[in-house]
């Protein structure tokens, strides 16, 4: 796997990708190509949406044309479908592979163009027009590559995977359709590019990059673009071969799906925003721990995402089906550049709390959620293998379970390492820590250890061992706050009904994924339990 891709997928995760259930903006093939200006791709995403000539029509019906197979998306979640569960987990590595190959081809192409520019530079100094045109072509290609890359990476994330499946043509169809139309490459880019801006609504680095590219390529002429895009179409024929030859190999990409929100909150941000340059928000504890933030005014059902709510609203009447109602509500407000938003942890004393001397803001709401759960909440998820490690974020548990049992190098503090040199580095760093002999295992998992003793004394999960791992070191205090309990009763019982009703609700998905995984430790009922406790 290309490490760059990995990074971009993480970056995407950081920007709290709220993949909407919206259907893709299906560009009509007959549309003039001038409309496929990369600027338009940012539709709905960046605040600088100033291209009124392009009016997308988010139409689910047309989308259906592209999806003859019964695909599940959140739009049709109210219509019970027989293969709902399988579709949720449907993720085609072949599609990813084809996307990647596509990218590779494109990059080679751009390379060739740039090379030719270099070659021409010496002798064709007077043909400035051509140079400009070629530059624009390169810019357009690069933009396209970046967008494609982001979209591919985004499809690896479980949180948006469902939606992506619904918006992208499935891989099998990719092969069958590509040959039919020479401009299919354009087609694919259009679809995926249209999706991208919605994945990054938070004006993150991705957005800025795209904006940059947009401004550069604004004045380009359509003809060049057509040239370039036709090129894609030709190469897609090769791509199909590639996909076919790679049948069945794509599964190795699967592990990437867990790189969702892992490193998003507590890592050193690196950004040094001056205090006044951003809008600082502080959510309340209850708000952070609430499973849903958007509620239906009619039936009361809660949603994590605004878009899902809008999809849901369609079922309440025709007035919710208009494009205006389905459009992103704050779209109109984006005409003026919004202030960057940063978040503060509500826990006083925490480094992420605005009162702290060395305050470091959190970037997104997702960061806030993960940070708060990790640092100030009970660790309610216990690893079923070792029965010692506990986590408050289920993704952390899943990551741990992948490695649990493989870490044979154990320190007396309870931290395990997969490599001896890492353990020795750890032991060298901390006073009084010693490696644990294999035969002493029983002793450590018992109560002899200091960290263990602490835990027993507190009668709750100690955060010590987690701290030693170094992932939480910037937190000054490690207190076990029973925030979950104190927030009890904030939500109406309607939520429970809604949850039971919406078996497809996004909130349920992590739990159901866990039960699907080889490390299944929670029966389905218990996943409901978790959900219930999360709602308290």
């Amino acid at each position: 796997m290309d490490p760059k891709l990995r990074i971009s997928s993480e970056a995407l995760a950081k920007s709290s990708c709220q993949m909407m259930g919206d259907p893709s903006r299906n560009f009509n093939l007959g549309q003039p190509f001038i409309q496929f200006n990369p600027t338009n791709l940012c539709y709905g995403g960046g605040p600088e949406q100033t291209f009124p000539e392009f009016t997308p029509t988010p139409d689910t019906e047309t989308h259906g044309l592209y999806q003859p197979e019964p695909q599940v998306n959140s739009a049709n979640q109210f219509k019970p479908s027989p293969n709902v569960d399988t579709a949720i987990l449907d993720w085609d590595p072949r599609l990813i592979l084809s996307n990647l190959s596509f990218l590779e081809q494109k990059i080679h192409q751009v390379q060739a163009i740039v090379q030719s520019i270099i070659n021409q530079e010496g002798r064709l100094s007077n043909r400035a027009n051509e140079m400009v045109a070629q530059q624009q072509l390169v810019t357009a290609d690069l933009t396209s590559i970046i967008i494609q890359l982001i979209s591919t990476a985004g499809s690896l994330l479980p949180s948006i995977k469902n939606t992506l499946v619904s918006t992208n043509p499935s891989a099998s169809r990719l092969g069958s359709v590509i040959g039919a139309t020479p401009s299919f490459g354009l087609n694919v880019s259009q679809q995926q590019n249209a999706v991208v801006p919605m994945e990054v609504p938070k004006a993150s680095a991705c957005d800025k990059l795209i904006d940059n590219l947009n401004t550069n390529s604004c004045g380009k002429e359509g003809s060049e673009l057509i040239k370039g895009l036709h090129g894609y179409g030709n190469e897609d024929v090769e791509l199909i071969k590639c996909v076919k030859s790679c049948d069945g190999e794509g599964t190795e990409l699967a592990p990437l799906e867990d790189h969702d929100v892992k490193d998003s909150d507590d890592g050193v941000d690196g950004e040094n925003l001056p205090p006044g340059s951003y809008e600082l928000l502080q959510l309340e504890k209850e708000e952070i721990l609430a499973p849903h933030t958007h509620f239906c005014v009619i039936c009361g059902k809660g949603f994590k995402r605004d878009a899902n709510l809008r999809m849901h609203m369609r079922g309440h009447g025709d007035e919710y089906k208009t494009p205006a109602a389905l459009a992103k509500p704050n779209k109109e407000l984006t005409s003026e550049p919004a202030l960057i938003k940063r978040y503060s942890c509500p826990f006083v004393g925490c480094k992420r709390n605005k009162e702290h001397k060395k305050f470091q803001p959190l970037k997104t709401i997702l960061c806030v959620k993960n940070h708060f759960k990790r640092s100030h909440c009970d660790k309610s998820y216990t690893c079923s293998r070792c029965n010692t490690k506990k986590f408050s974020v289920i993704a952390d548990l899943k990551t741990h379970e992948k490695h649990c049992g493989r870490d044979k190098w154990l320190c007396s503090c309870g931290t395990t390492f997969s490599r001896k040199d890492k353990l020795f580095g750890h032991v060298a760093l901390f006073q009084g820590h010693t490696p644990v002999l294999a035969v002493d295992d029983a002793k450590v998992s018992g109560t002899s250890d200091q960290a263990r003793a602490n835990e027993v004394m507190n009668g709750m999960v100690g955060t010590l061992e987690y701290n030693f791992a170094g992932s939480n070191l910037d937190d000054v205090q490690n207190l076990n706050i029973k925030g979950v309990d104190s927030g009890r009763g904030c939500f109406s019982p309607m939520n429970f009904d809604a949850c039971n009703f919406g078996g497809l609700d996004e909130f349920l998905r992590p739990a159901s994924e866990v039960s699907e995984s080889p490390f299944s430790f929670l029966p389905f009922g218990s996943s409901n339990l978790i959900q219930g406790s999360g709602q308290n």
Partner: protein, 705 residues
């Protein structure tokens, strides 16, 4: 020797014990002392000690003396035998001894509990290395009965293969002030034992040579548990790698002495070691992955290093040592033996930087020339020891260049310098008046002419190795002028006869070690002279001196101090001679009678009866039978090492029985490979579980010498 000769073998105090604190030397001469002892014990008479075990008469002067005075008396008795006699005849002295004894060396497991109980008051040093059949349970029980050894500082458990972590934990828990532990050659010791050691946090000195089970993890435990450790020996601990050394050097900043010999460590570990600011002694014998590049890390040292030993590191040259000298200007000892054998000019130049401190230089196996010796001699005027074993190109001129400028030389090793002649010896004798040790094995060109000068000039000479030098009786006569001689090796000198040995015996009365290997000219008369003159002889090798008979052994039987006797291939000796030795040489610890074809069961019976301290025996090829073997192995409580190859008259059942009778104390065993399939697996398992290592040999039976 007041009365130890009269004590029967069944005396209850069977454990010999030696005091570590050197007693103040008594000003009394021997006859005076005898009179004094006689005054202390009214009914004392040398011949009737056995009767002294009765309760003391009430009118004894001892009853009125307070204990502290008795302690004073004991302190003034320099001879251990004398003190033993006092303990044996008086409860007062026994109590006094319990108050003053600092060191204890236990020879019998049975005696351990009572000894620890009695001497736990002031005991500082405990040596359990010769104690046979010591296991965790016995040790823990003994420690328990002692009620804690609160003053113990030094503990030696070398070769105590039966000891595991349980025993160590029990022992260390009872010794809160322990500072030094020696677990060398306990091959079974591993990480758990190291972890047990780590529990005694105050350890300063730890020896773990050839503890094969110790890995980086065990070393890490030790390093974390004992941060004040100063001396650490982990020679032959093959599992330890750079990682462990790295952690060690990070955790134990006070380390002064470190022995990493034969470890599979690389240059990386030297980088870690270079951070040890107090390191004085670094030994890295046979670390083949260390190179000059690694030694370069020591370049920026803090002048702390006093001694470096990189011998047998095949990838190290003197160029690497240049960097070491650059960082450590106070080096006293350099051992580069068997490294890359070139003395590079930068090294010779750098020697000038340490001219005031360098005392020991060993360059075994190097290619040398007279010019380089001239430089060494000019630079290192304070040299006390030079090692040139197997050097190529060592001539008389080289030696004279060296010794003219180094008058302080005390040890000269010329082993296998074949070109060296009498002229070199004369040069040495003329310049090095304080010479103490001359090793000239295989210098076949030297003769009585050179040794004459040595004997005249070097009156301090203590150790001489003339193995394979073809010297004659005249040379011995010259050498015998060195009355301080303690070690003399005359192996493979067939020209030596009784005449030469007579000179040695009559003049070198301090001799402790004599090697007559294959001196076929030596006969019983020579042995008589040696036995008469060298009363303190501890080690005697007379293998293949085929003329020696039982008569010679009878002469030797007066050597009370004899510990180690090797007499392989003495075909003329019989049970009578062995019995005389067994009866006379009560201290005997090691005995080798391999290929003595006339030694039979009767000899073994005698040994079993009298040689209670025998620890090692080799009776291979001897015509002993089942009975003798069973008696020997079953009776000798100290026997730990037995070589029993090609005992033609011993049956499988005989082996089985004998080994079963001694399975719990045997640590090393040498047997014919064929027996592997005939001895019961249970027995072999038992032996193995006890830490006994069996060496199976597959040699054809060849009789003859």
């Amino acid at each position: 020797m007041l009365c130890s000769a009269g004590i029967p073998a069944s005396t209850p105090s069977s454990a010999s014990s030696t005091p570590s604190s050197p007693s103040p030397t008594s000003s009394l001469s021997r006859p005076e002392k005898r009179r004094k002892t006689a005054a202390l014990f009214p009914n004392y008479s040398p011949g009737k000690v056995t009767t002294m075990r009765n309760p003391q008469p009430s009118d004894s002067i001892l009853t009125v003396l307070p204990v502290d005075l008795l302690v004073q008396i004991l302190d003034r008795l320099p001879d251990t035998g004398d003190r033993k006699s006092c303990r044996l005849v008086s409860r007062g002295f026994l109590r006094a001894e319990a108050l003053r004894r600092r060191a204890l060396r236990v020879l019998r497991r049975e005696a351990l509990p009572s000894l620890l109980r009695r001497y736990s008051f002031a005991l500082e040093s405990l040596d359990l290395s010769p104690c046979p059949a010591l296991d965790d349970a016995a040790l823990a029980a003994a420690v328990h009965t002692s009620g804690g050894l609160r003053t113990l500082k030094t503990l030696c458990l070398a070769r105590a293969t039966g000891i595991g972590w349980r025993g160590l934990e029990a022992l260390l828990a009872a010794c809160p002030r322990l500072e030094a532990v020696d677990l060398s050659y306990c091959v079974g010791v591993g990480d758990r034992e190291a972890a047990a050691l780590a529990a005694a946090g105050g350890l300063r000195e730890v020896r773990l040579d050839k503890c094969l089970g110790i890995t980086d993890v065990g070393l890490a435990k030790l390093a974390v548990g004992c941060p004040v450790i100063e001396t650490l020996g982990i020679k032959w601990c093959m599992e330890i790698s750079d990682l462990g050394i790295d952690l060690l050097s990070k955790k134990c900043r006070d380390l002064k002495v470190l022995d990493l010999s034969y470890l599979k460590v690389t240059n990386f570990c030297l980088q870690s070691i270079s951070c040890l600011g107090k390191l004085e002694d670094l030994t890295m014998v046979g670390c083949s992955q260390i190179s000059d590049e690694g030694l370069r890390f020591l370049k920026n040292g803090s002048n702390s290093l006093r001694s470096i030993d990189v011998s047998r590191c095949s990838n190290v040259s003197t160029l690497g040592l240049v960097s070491v000298i650059e960082g450590h200007k106070c080096l006293q000892k350099i051992n580069a033996g068997d490294c890359f054998p070139e003395l590079v000019p930068p090294f010779l130049t750098m020697l000038g930087d340490i001219r005031h401190t360098l005392k020991v230089l060993k360059i075994d196996g190097f290619h040398v020339s007279a010019s380089s010796f001239w430089i060494i001699g000019m630079d290192c005027k304070h040299l006390e020891e030079i090692g040139l074993a197997k050097c190529k190109g060592v001539t008389d001129q080289c030696i004279s260049e060296l010794v003219t400028h180094c008058p302080g030389l005390r040890t000269v090793d010329l082993t296998c310098c074949h070109l060296v002649t009498d002229n070199a010896l004369i040069a040495i004798a003329d310049h090095c008046k304080r010479l103490e040790c001359l090793l000239s094995e295989s210098c076949s060109l030297i003769s009585e002419k050179g040794l004459d000068r040595i004997g005249t000039c070097c009156s301090d000479l203590k150790e001489v190795d003339l193995t394979d030098c073809h010297i004659n009786d005249t040379a011995l006569k010259c050498l015998s002028r060195c009355s301080e001689l303690t070690m003399l090796k005359l192996g493979l000198c067939p020209n030596i006869s009784d005449k030469g040995l007579f000179h040695i015996g009559s003049n070198c009365r301090k001799l402790l070690e004599l090697d007559l290997y294959r001196c076929t000219g030596a006969t019983d008369g020579g042995l008589a002279a040696i036995a008469a003159g060298c009363k303190n002889l501890k080690k005697l090798n007379m293998c293949y001196c085929t003329q020696i008979t039982d008569e010679g052994l009878k002469h030797l039987s007066c050597l009370k101090e004899l510990l180690d006797l090797e007499m392989r291939g003495l075909v003329h000796i019989t049970s009578a001679g062995i019995a005389a030795i067994a009866f006379g040489c009560r201290s005997l610890v090691e005995l080798d009678v391999k290929r003595c074809y006339s030694v039979d069961d009767a000899s073994l019976w005698a040994l079993a009866q009298y040689s209670k301290n025998l620890r090692q025996i080799n009776i291979s090829y001897c015509p002993v039978t089942d009975m003798g073997l069973c008696k020997l192995l079953g009776t000798l409580r100290c026997l730990q090492d037995a070589k029993l190859v090609h005992l033609m008259r011993v049956s499988i059942e005989g082996y089985e029985l004998a080994l079963r009778a001694s399975w719990d104390r045997l640590k090393k065993l040498k047997l014919l490979g064929g027996l592997r399939h005939f001895l019961s697996p249970g027995l072999l398992q038992m032996l193995k579980a006890r830490g006994c290592r069996i060496r199976w040999v597959d040699k054809p039976l060849v009789l003859g010498v």
